[in-house]
Amino acid sequence: MADLSRTEVEQIALLARLHLEPAEIEAMGAELGAILAHFATLAAVDTTDVPAMTHATETQTLRADVVEPSLPVEDALSGLPAKARSGDLIVVPSIIPGHES
């Protein structure tokens, strides 16, 4: 497979919410192209009627749907920088560019 174009790399980076510097974009196009070329061997495999294996265990064991003690709010917010906290709320920037949160 050929290198990924700059536009395609930028589209994927936006989907991944990942800022890349110009040099990273260039390198990523070539590296992903080389890795994806290696995947071509999969395309040649006949998988007609082969089910997809989503998990190594066939069963999942769900616990009863009852309220149990969980992490106290204070602990859960302990990883926040001070400026990102307001009482028990997490302060985030506005989703609308140019507006103060």
Binding site: R17, L71, G79, I95
Partner: protein, 492 residues
């Protein structure tokens, strides 16, 4: 043993340490002081640790000694110093997964691994170095520092649990925990000359594991003997309602399996693992193991796993796809580093762009590429179908044999900085990936050394939940190879 002999306990086994502490021959505090002294002496060279918890370890040791003095049980691992890979969360102790995006993060809870070890009396001495989020095969992709191989510090210890393997090989702890998503316990164990066990998917709880690829990740021990690995698995294994994929099957007595011998055991040798790419010394060591097992009464036969060559491409679709989803949680909002940006989208993008290293970015991009609308069937679904074919190969083989024997890696430890292309680095895991895709247990056990003194590992793969068979055959190999007492000279 005396406190005046700081090297005395460096290479004690887990069982030895636990027994001596329980018998009062040595205090847990002495064990911890000497362990911390060794870490101080050697880790500047090795880079095995990202965080050493001297005060926490001392406090835990005091508690063990107080319990013993009061006649209370101290647990099966009472006083045993153990290190945890830094993608296993530990309450109150910085946990970074080797990433800048989690620099300084102090988890508010213990994961299941830390919880079970503490309950068993183990002393958690620190957090070990790893490739960022477990993505790598050399520990050079740690955002903090590379770890070195104790047998030759110009070479890598393997990865991603390279710090855990190096620490055990150099006698900086009695044993350690790693995680294995595509070989990250077994490959560094092989390159550092220690035992590494990746349990069956679901055997050990993933609660509190910083997720990389959730359908593949498993926690397991690295140790200097097979018996020590069995002792740790005994503590780690078992159902945990907080992990929906945790298995409810009863946990057998793993220690009891060790002395079973191999008479009559059917060992399959998959021909696809012995192709032209394999190093001659590795090949010779594995051939020697095959002869030794045959001499000990095992029935050796060649088997075929025809889809082996597809494991690498299937893995490098499934794992990055799951990683791209799992790592979406690092958005700079609730924990970890947050970049200053004018709006939410730019906060996400700048925090992630600054916080993740090159290999993590590459895998997130690869996973996002494969999962995006219109590409899912061609890539992710196709890889999962191939995963089924790989699993069927193993199912067929295990109808004929009890265990499979392969090299753990195609070559011994490579020099630091010598592998630069991402694809070439992925090839370091070529023999370990299929086990994760199929959810099977795998064990790497030392099989010898190259003439230059680099360790070689033999890999055993077993039926689901048959860790006991791996430990039994692994113990026989360990006995036949006879190198469990050989330690790297620079860290004697």
């Amino acid at each position: 043993m005396s406190v005046a002999d700081p090297k005395g306990l460096a290479y004690w086994t887990v069982a030895d340490t636990a027994r001596r502490v329980a018998a009062g021959e040595v205090t847990a505090e002495d064990v911890v002081e000497q362990t911390l002294a060794r870490i101080t002496e050697h880790d500047a060279t090795l880079g095995a640790f990202l965080e050493v918890d001297a005060s926490g370890a001392r406090a835990a040791a005091r508690l063990v000694d107080q319990k013993r003095a009061a006649g209370a049980p101290i647990g099966p691992l009472g006083g045993v110093p153990i290190a945890l890979k830094d993608n296993l969360v530990t309450k109150g102790l910085v946990t970074t997964a080797g990433s800048k995006i989690l620099a300084g993060w102090v988890p508010p809870y213990d994961g299941a691994a830390a919880e079970r070890l503490r309950a068993a009396g183990a002393i958690l001495v620190g957090k070990t170095n790893l490739d960022e989020f477990g993505m790598g095969s050399s520990t050079e992709r740690s955002a903090y520092k590379p770890a070195k191989n104790p047998w030759d510090t110009s070479r890598v210890p393997g990865g991603s649990s390279g710090g855990s393997a190096a620490a055990v090989a150099a006698g900086l702890c009695a044993a350690s925990l790693g995680t294995d998503t595509g070989g990250s316990i077994r490959q560094p164990a092989a390159l550092c000359g220690v035992v590494g066990l990746k349990p069956t998917y679901g055997r050990v709880s993933r609660w509190g594991v910083i997720a990389f690829a959730s359908s593949l990740d498993q926690v397991g021990p690295l140790a200097r003997t097979v018996a020590d690995a069995a002792a740790l698995l005994q503590v780690l294994a078992g159902h945990d309602p907080r992990d929906a994929t945790s298995l409810t099957a009863p946990v057998p007595d793993y220690g009891a399996a060790l002395a079973g011998g191999v008479a009559g055991v059917k060992v399959g040798v998959p021909k696809e693992y012995f192709g032209p790419g394999i190093d001659a010394d590795v090949r010779a060591a594995i051939d020697q193991v095959i002869h030794q097992l045959r001499d000990a009464g095992a029935a050796i036969s060649e088997v075929s796993l025809p889809h082996t060559g597809l494991a690498l491409p299937a893995y490098y679709l499934v794992a990055p796809a799951e990683a791209s989803s799992n790592l979406a949680r690092y958005d700079g909002l609730r924990y970890g580093a947050r970049a200053d940006a004018p709006d939410l989208l730019q906060t996400y993008m700048r925090s992630r762009g600054a916080g993740f290293g090159p290999e993590v970015k590459r895998r997130i991009m690869l996973g996002t590429y494969a999962l995006r609308s219109g590409y899912y069937d061609a890539y992710y679904r196709k890889a999962q179908q191939v995963r089924t074919l790989i699993k069927r190969d193993f199912d067929a083989a295990f109808r004929e044999v009890d265990v499979l024997l392969t090299p753990t890696t195609p070559a011994p430890a490579f020099p630091l900085g010598s592998v630069s292309s991402p694809l070439d680095m992925y090839l370091a895991d070529v023999f370990t990936l299929a086990c994760n895709l199929a959810g099977l247990p795998g064990l790497s056990v030392p099989a010898g050394f190259t003439p230059a003194g680099l360790p070689i590992g033999a890999q055993l793969l077993g039926k689901p939940l048959d860790e006991a068979m791996l430990l039994r055959v692994g113990s026989a190999i360990e006995g036949a190879v006879g190198l469990a007492d050989r330690h790297p000279e620079a860290f004697a």
